[in-house]
């Protein structure tokens, strides 16, 4: 792990950042912040809510090499889950872990990737989540939440919200997702 630099991080105001929209770049921009934050020696924790365990994405391989804490609580399905209660329980376990990590004060950056998915399915209550964050998020902690259809209450709570919009997409032209670029 990198040495933590209190000179930089103590001055910071922890931002709540939401990357939403139908376009590419929501998770990818979060990964970019992870690279920046890692460069500065931040303490980082990532929890993914769609990606299942056991899949070797480029980012997961990179995180392993860089000793970045990284957890996956997804079932691999997007938006239409096929596993019912089991998937819901996994997502709730992910949120429980997120709460522990956030409240611990031991991190400078926590990324909750595709958290809007269990919010959208009402597996996790958005209002309760926002209330919990308002009470328990350390003020220095940067928090990034990604995913389509970010609920209004989350957008209202966030400091920085970006919508990624598709202008042109190669999947429409029959090109498959490319390893190292899209996963």
């Amino acid at each position: 792990m990198m040495k933590h630099d209190p000179g930089i991080t103590r001055k910071q105001k922890g931002l709540v950042i939401v990357n939403t929209g139908d376009g590419k770049g929501k998770t990818t921009a979060a990964l970019g912040v992870i690279l920046r934050a890692w460069g500065r020696g931040f303490r980082i924790c990532v929890i993914q809510f769609i990606k299942p365990e056991g899949i070797n994405t480029g980012e997961y391989i990179a995180a392993s090499k860089l000793a970045i804490e990284w957890y996956r609580y997804g079932d691999g399905f997007t938006w239409v889950s096929k596993n019912g209660d089991e998937s819901m329980n996994r997502a709730r376990q992910g949120w429980q872990l997120a709460q522990e990590k956030i409240a611990s004060g031991a991190y400078d950056l926590v990324v909750l990737d595709e958290l809007t998915y269990p919010l959208h399915l009402n597996w996790i209550d958005t209002g309760e989540m926002v209330n919990w964050l308002a009470l328990n998020k350390p003020s220095h902690l940067h928090l990034i939440i990604t995913g389509r259809n970010a609920p209004r209450a989350l957008i209202a709570y966030a400091d920085l919200v970006t919508e990624m919009k598709i202008v042109k997409h190669p999947f429409n032209q029959g090109v498959k997702g490319q390893p190292g670029i899209e996963f």
Copy 2:
């Protein structure tokens, strides 16, 4: 440097990706792809057209640690340059280096960060650039170009174009850019 994995990269179709729009996340999403690509052992080259030499951004520190090739040809000014010919010459040198790197065939991913800036100022001719890329970009090479106001001819040439839109921005609320998150 990481060992290159020809098993993955030889199958790939090199995408031309443009991240544009007024919102955050254009450069940041490119950094996320760099993290993914580094995880998979891709050969990476980054050239920045706004960031000047000598500034320690989080991404630059990270790239140094990860032995990612990284060059900066900017004057630090955005859109309104104060240095005239000198800035123009730097940008053109950056594009010349980019051409060498792209044509060499020695990379899997080339990132031209904020290249739309010298394109917008007509320091580099967009039509000539696109024609050159169409003739010289190796088919396996992924190319990412970022920046506001991507010219139409560039969008027409690209495979994947995303517009980053501001929904909510903390600078409007008097919050400064945060190290490790925004640079």
